[in-house]
């Protein structure tokens, strides 16, 4: 049985073009501002997923590559 390299499928399945990184919330800092638990601020815990973290890193590297190709 030939050895299969899954790298190609894994790379394509990351789909980092459609990875939407949630923007940081800027809550008001007044004394009467509603207090919010920052831990519960996550959108269904998506950003904690390992694949999301990898995708986020990939996005940064991809941007760097695109910047290099443009120059």
């Amino acid at each position: 049985m030939p050895l299969v390299n899954p790298a190609k499928q894994l790379y394509h399945s990351m789909d980092i073009e459609n990875l939407d990184v949630p923007a940081k919330r800027t809550d008001s800092k007044g004394l009467l501002a509603p207090t919010r638990n920052p831990m519960s601020d996550e959108q269904d815990g998506r950003t904690k997923q390992p694949a999301f973290k990898v995708g986020h890193h990939m996005l940064l590297l991809r941007k760097q590559r695109e910047r290099l190709q443009d120059v």
Binding site: P6, K8, L10, P50, K53, V54, H57, L61, R65, L68
Partner: protein, 156 residues
Amino acid sequence: MFDAPIPGMSLTHELGARPWQSPPQYTTVDEAIEYYLERMSTDEFMDQMADVLEMNVPVTTLANTIQLAGVMDGKHTVDVGMLVMPLLMEMIMLIGDNAGVKYDSGLTDVPDNRTKDTLIEAVRKEMQQKIDESEETPKAEEVKEEEPKSGLMARR
């Protein structure tokens, strides 16, 4: 083909004797990413990687080899390796772009039309062997004389 392990080969050592049979050094994807990015950011690694990319080794193959080596060294588990692999590919491609190397990403299905040097060499050797063989064999063709048929049904 003959590099494949023999069935039962994994049982020839004590359990835990191999690095991948003990708990991995980096248990999370974050730790594995940090380990790889730090390792791949060194000048020595980048130079070596650029050399390998120049040899037209696909990025997919390199990434798989690197993560497999990590598993065999007991750095992380196979599943963490699978998760990290796309990042390794992106990093390798970044190194290639940074060094200005034209590399093969290994992501395209269409094979490039360039003929590999190894293939040319193999064909050349085969042709040379055929030429040598044809020169060695004597060219004299023996003409067989027909023996006279002596059977009952033989023509006269």
